[in-house]
Amino acid sequence: MRTETMHPKVAKIVNNIEKVVVGKRNEAILSITALLAGGHVLLEDVPGVGKTMLVKSIAKSVSSMFKRIQFTPDLLPSDVLGVSIYNPKTMEFEFRPGPIMGNIILADEINRTSPKTQSALLEGMDEGKITVDGITYHLPKPFFVMATQNPIEYEGTYPLPEAQLDRFLLKMKMGYPSHDEEVEILSRVEKRLPIEEIEPVITGKELQGLQEEVKNVYVDETVKSYIVLLSDRTRNHSQVYLGASPRASIALMKAAQAYAFINGRDYVVPDDIQFLAPYVFSHRLILRSEARYDGVTPQDVIYSILSTTRVPIIRR
């Protein structure tokens, strides 16, 4: 996607990110899509491909509170949420907020920690508030979590259950850079790290404003019916054990609104849906074991559904 056709504010963010991360425009845009749609992103890939760098560059582009939580097997929920400590001066318990109290959170290696700690974060992501010692604290806005995880085949991980995965709007992979890109990365980091040089290009307030605008992006009945058609076909697909839920349909629509907004449109077209469907649906489908043994991935299923479902081209 060319930056000229993008929404100008988004284009600025993307340019900023590209100063740091090489050749990952698609992932950058997807991240911003989730950010604008008010959802969260799950990045899945092997270590060292730039997951953290991507999140950091997004966080630095938005002048907002950036927090990082490194998940380890011994991390406790209070390490995430915060803890009340007795203050001998006032003779009261005072709440010391945890790293979750930020605008942009990098939840690094989320599948390395115990399910107890995972769910502490995920509940916060879902509801926008946390409860500690019976007192509810609202999380700041905007609130955007980018979690990274190593592929679950690796040892020493606690795979996220399906219900938890559902909390993420998008799931994507980073992938290795190409040869030229990797050479470019090397030259960039030769003298100093570019991440330290980028400046914020958008304020938190502005970001919130954009999030509000995204909600006004028009989704025609025609397109809605296309979304539902796709969800429905995942449910009836022969290789799928559990198809996309209505929540998945909602997620796809919201993501499409944000994506259309990024593209400078105030309405959603089926192309948006086709682009986003693999990222929105893939972590929400459970394939039948036969299909898994055959090496079929959820993406394969989604692509086959996309290529066989007729796109509605006439207004309903």
Partner: protein
Amino acid sequence: MILQKKSFESLLVHLFVFLLILEWLYPLADFDIIYNSFIFILFLVLCFLLSFLRFRTSYNLMVVFLYIVVALNLYFFNKSGLGLLWPDQIVGDIVQNLNFTRQGNWGLLTDSFRTFLMFLLLALLVYVLRYWIIVRKKPFLFFLFTIIYLVILDVFSTYDAKFAIIRSFVFGLSGLGIITFYRLTNREQLYRSRIFKSKVLMFLIFVVFATTSLGMIVPKADSQWANPFSFLDRYGQSTGKGEGGTGNVKVIGYDEDDRFLGGPLLLDDNEVFSVLSPHSQYWRVETKDVYTGKGWETSAEEHFLRFNGADDGLPLYHVEEQYLEQDMYTVFVETNADINHFIYPYGTEKVIVHASPIVEVNDEGGSAKITGFSAGSTRPLYVDPGREKIDLGNGVERYAIMFRRPSYNIDVLRSVTDASGIEQAFLERYTQLPEQLPERIKNLASAITTGQTNWFDKARAIENYLRSYEFTYDTIDVAVPGPEDDYVDQFLFETKRGYCDNFSTAMVVLLRSLGIPARWVKGYTNGVAMNSDISEYQVITITNSHAHSWVEVYFPGVGWVPFEPTKGFLNFGRFHMDIGQSEAQEELSVNQEFELGENEVREPLNEIELEEGPDAISSTEKSGKELPGWFLLFISLLFMVVLLILFFKRKRWIPLLLIVKYRNKTDGSAFEKAYLTLIKRLEKVGLSMDAGDTLRDYARRIDDSFRSKHMSELTHLYERMVYGNGRVKLEKINWQEPWEQLMRKTARL
């Protein structure tokens, strides 16, 4: 699709289908419906060969056409070779038969034309069967129909289909087996090795052989229906119309006895008169004046007066002198020996018995001319003035008639509004009606003629009423009046279906109920005219089917004027009008005069209403009279060729038509439609949208293949219309130009 290639299997299937069609043809030959089945079988062989060899359609058409022409030439016109590929006979024949077809005179079609149609039918049949069986691979229905056809023939006719059924079974099953084998292997994508094929073929032969022999060996029950006809007859009698009438079918022809009219008619093509005449006209035989409620009788006793043929003043058809044209014409009539009545044209003045034309052949031009006629005999002739009927006596097979054609002035006819000036006895005679005539006929007559003041317009109104869509011309399903029914009443109010007798009698009765003197005339219509070698003369053949009846109305000061109420026939009377300027008169009277062309059937409009607005006859109909037959044929052939070209080139002109359609439309819904139309056109030229394609993907593909950006531009607009809830003001955007360019490109592909 191995069956669509020149393979052995395809040959086998073609052969079996051919053999099955032959089974349809054999019974036709057996019943003498076709006399020479050889030319048809050869034709079928040719058609199947062409279908098998898969030449281009145009070659196939040419070969088939050539065969038909040569076959018709050889068989009907006794001409050999291709030298006379396009002879007059064939053209003339086709023209004449097209006329019959237009008229619905199916019985009159000549054998050559029927043969031609049969060829056409067979060619179409082969074409359809090819699609049905070879392409679609659905042979069963045809097989089933063949068996049903044979069974019905076997049961209800003298045709013995015993072996035909066995043959069809063998051929049909074999063909079915081969086609099913290919359909199944195609569907399952099996590899057809030689051994596999031969195994299947062996099995098929075994199955066919086994089932056939089993079917022949096993005992069969005797037929349950000893004679299906007696059963059906019984059935028919118990439910059919029991009461009323004789119910017997009459054969059309001239019948002296008209006391009981009604019932169906059969067509009879036997020739009764052959006439040499300069033009076509109706032929009178006699008139009748007494309507009985069931049919017609004459009031006067039969009473023939003796005349010398050359005498003037024969008491035949009477019209005042000023309404006869100056030109005297002569016609020569040859009658069939079995006929004991004589025909004459309107305006007959002299009848010369035994006269035959003297033909002089001009050596230079080669055209022949009638210069006079042999004196004939002095034999007297007899005329019955009461019926206006001629009797020439037995043994007269040829005679000449000299006549002057009447032409009626409409203005004069319109001036007649009542019966003043008519003798009372005369008036009573021609306004006679049976006492028990139902009242509603009179009411109907008044209703039809409401608003008309003069007799002529009243007669026209009744004529038009009878020719309207309410009535149907039919010779088969025609009722016979029951003992209590009035013939006219039944026709006018109940059946509304009949032939000339119904229409003409009804008109006479309606007129009489209004007090207008009218009578019933019998005779023959024009007959079939053919060009003759003699200049200015036509050979007119009159058959029994041309027997006809019509109406004459008496106008004081003019005489009897003919009217034609029967649907499908046109008033042959020649009418003219007075126009102020004398110069104009001549010209217009030529236009307005009209006579019935050769068996032409036109809309029930009347020419004299030319001046009167909505019902005016169209100019094409008028000019149709002057156009020669070959021209009509040429025009219709041209028309068909144009239609065919238009059909095959539709990809080229439909887009251009659509461009014109959308050119001046700028609103959003027009754009939406135009865009979708464009997609349809693109699909027609092979650039169709795939299942997963979004409009953008598609537009990119189209633009790639056309090397343009128009489709993407349009798609962008359309997306906004459809997915963006019409968030675009199209008035400001010129969508037509890129759209038109794309449409043009589809036309060029």
